[in-house]
Amino acid sequence: MAFTRPDNRKVNDFRDIEAKAGIIKRADGSGYFRIGKTVAYAAVYGPRDLYPRFLQNPQKGILRCSYNMMPFSGSGERVRPGTNRRSREISHVTEKALLPVLDLTEFPNAVVDVFIELPQTDAGTRCAGICAASIALADAGIPMRDMVSAIAAGYIGGTALIDVSKEEEDYAGGMADIPIALLPRTGEITLLQMDGIMPKDQLKKAIMLAKEACKKIITVQQKALKEKYGRW
C-alpha cells in the first residue's frame, strides 16, 4: 500500500514557503526563510577581518557558517545551547553548499560570517538555513554567480517525496532522509546527504523531485530580494 502523507500532500508538494530579505538591520545582509513550521533566520557579517590570524587566507576570503537551533525550537526536550557534533557537521556542509556560488577572491585575509538560527523547527532545518543564507549573502552584496536553493527529500513507505515534515520523519515504518542543495539554473548539486535504506533508482526520483521544487523555491527567494531592492 502506498504511503499517504499525514497532511495529504502529493509527493512533489512542499509546504507553504515564505522568504524575506533584510530582516536584521544591523547585519550586512540577512534573510528569513520559512517552510511549513520550520523557520530560519540568517545574518551575514563581512567581509571583515579574520582573527586569529592563522586562519587567514592571503589568496581569498573564507566563508564561515554557523548553524544553531534555539533552545526552545525543537519538538521534544530543550535543545542544549552551544555547539554539538550535529550542529558542527551541519555548519560544515552548509559552508560547502554555499561556497561554490561565491567569489571571495577580492577579500584576502577576510571572513564572511553567516549565522543561521532556528527559532522553530519541523524538519528540513539545514535546507531552510541554506535558503535563508543564500538570500542573506545576496542581500549583503557578496559577489555570487548564482543562488542556492535547498529542500529535504525523503523516501518513505516505498515512495520518493520532498519536504519531509517531522511527523513523516518519525514514520514508524522507517524512512530515508535526503537533504539536497543545488543551483536551480545549472542543476549543480552542492549538498547531498542521505540516511536510511533506499534502493538507488529511488534516489534518482528524489533528486528529480528536489530539482523541480528548487526551481520554484528560488523564485520565492529572488522575489524576497526584489521586494527589498525593487525600487531600482
Partner: protein, 257 residues
C-alpha cells in the same frame, strides 16, 4: 614528507585511465583487515589500505535507554585523528574532520540497522547496552573514510559480550555471545578531480580532490547513507556514476570482513 604532485601531471595520467602509482581508477590499494587486535576491547580491528592504517575498538557499557526509545540500546561512534598519524593533525578536541568522519561512520551503521537495538535492551526504560565504537588513525596516507568505516564494522562483528554479575559488567570475563547483527554495511568513497572519478585516493589525490561522495551500501546493494564533501558541486550524472562505482566496489570490501 608529502611531495606536492602537480595537478597537471595527475590529470595526464587520469586521461590514460591510470594513477601516478600505477593503479587503475577503480582499483583499491592492498586492503588488509585484522580483528581482535586489542584483547581488552570487547571487539577490535586494524584496517590497512596501502600505508593508511586505522584501529577501531568497541567497548560495551550499560546505560539508560533514550526516553523516546525505552526498549532499545544504541551506539556511539567517536573518531580521533591523532597527531601521531599525520603532520596535518593537531592535538586537542575533535576538529570538523574527525567529527564528520565519526558521524558518517555512525550513520552507515545506524541507518542500515546493522545492530538490532531492541535486543540490546535489558530492562525497558532502565538498562540497555551501549555499543561505543572508537576509531583511531595511526597513519594517514589518504582515504581514512573507507578505512574507518571498514574498521568499525569489522570491530562490531568481532565484538563479544562480557559477563554481567550483580548488575555490573565484569570486563574480565568474556562470553562467546556476539552482538545481535542484522546487516553489514560497507562504505566506499568516490572522488572527483577534473572530469575523472576514482576510488581510494592516495594522500596527494585526496589533497587535490574537488568533490567526494561517500556511499554506504547494504548487503542487497541498497544505499543506507550518503555524504557529499569537497568544495566543488556535482551534477546528477556524476552522482549516479559515483554510486554505481561505490556499489560495485563495496562487494570487494565486503569479502574482507
Amino acid at each position: 614528507m608529502v611531495v606536492k604532485t602537480s595537478k597537471q601531471r595527475m590529470l595526464e595520467f587520469f586521461a590514460k585511465g591510470f594513477r601516478l602509482d600505477g593503479r587503475k581508477l577503480n582499483e583499491f590499494r592492498n586492503v588488509q583487515v585484522e580483528t581482535g587486535i586489542s584483547p581488552n576491547a570487547e571487539g577490535s580491528s586494524r584496517v590497512k589500505i596501502g600505508d593508511t592504517e586505522v584501529l577501531a575498538g568497541v567497548k560495551l557499557e550499560l546505560g539508560t535507554p533514550y526516553p523516546d526509545k525505552p526498549d532499545e540500546g544504541t551506539i556511539m561512534v567517536g573518531a580521533e585523528l591523532l597527531p601521531l598519524s599525520s603532520p596535518d593533525f593537531e592535538a586537542g578536541p575533535p576538529g570538523i574532520g574527525a567529527i564528520e568522519l565519526a558521524r558518517v561512520v555512525d550513520r552507515g551503521i545506524r541507518e542500515a540497522a546493522v545492530i538490532d537495538f531492541k535486543r540490546l535492551c535489558i530492562t525497558p526504560g532502565e538498562k540497555a547496552w551501549i555499543v561505543v565504537i572508537d576509531i583511531i588513525s595511526v597513519n594517514d596516507d589518504g582515504n581514512l573514510f573507507d578505512a574507518a568505516a571498514l574498521a568499525a564494522i569489522a570491530a562490531v562483528k568481532n565484538c563479544r559480550f562480557p559477563e554481567i554479575s550483580d548488575g555490573v559488567i565484569d570486563y574480565k570475563s568474556t562470553t562467546e555471545e556476539k552482538l545481535p547483527l542484522n546487516e553489514e554495511s560497507v562504505e566506499v568513497t568516490v572522488h572527483k578531480i577534473g572530469g575523472t572519478i576514482f576510488i581510494d585516493p592516495s594522500l596527494a589525490e585526496e589533497q587535490l580532490s574537488e568533490a567526494r561522495l561517500t556511499v554506504a551500501v547494504t548487503k542487497e546493494g541498497d544505499l543506507c547513507a550518503l555524504q557529499k564533501g569537497g568544495d566543488f558541486p556535482l551534477v546528477e550524472e556524476d552522482i549516479y556514476a559515483m554510486i554505481d562505482l561505490a556499489v560495485e566496489k563495496s562487494k570487494e570490501l565486503r569479502k574482507l570482513i
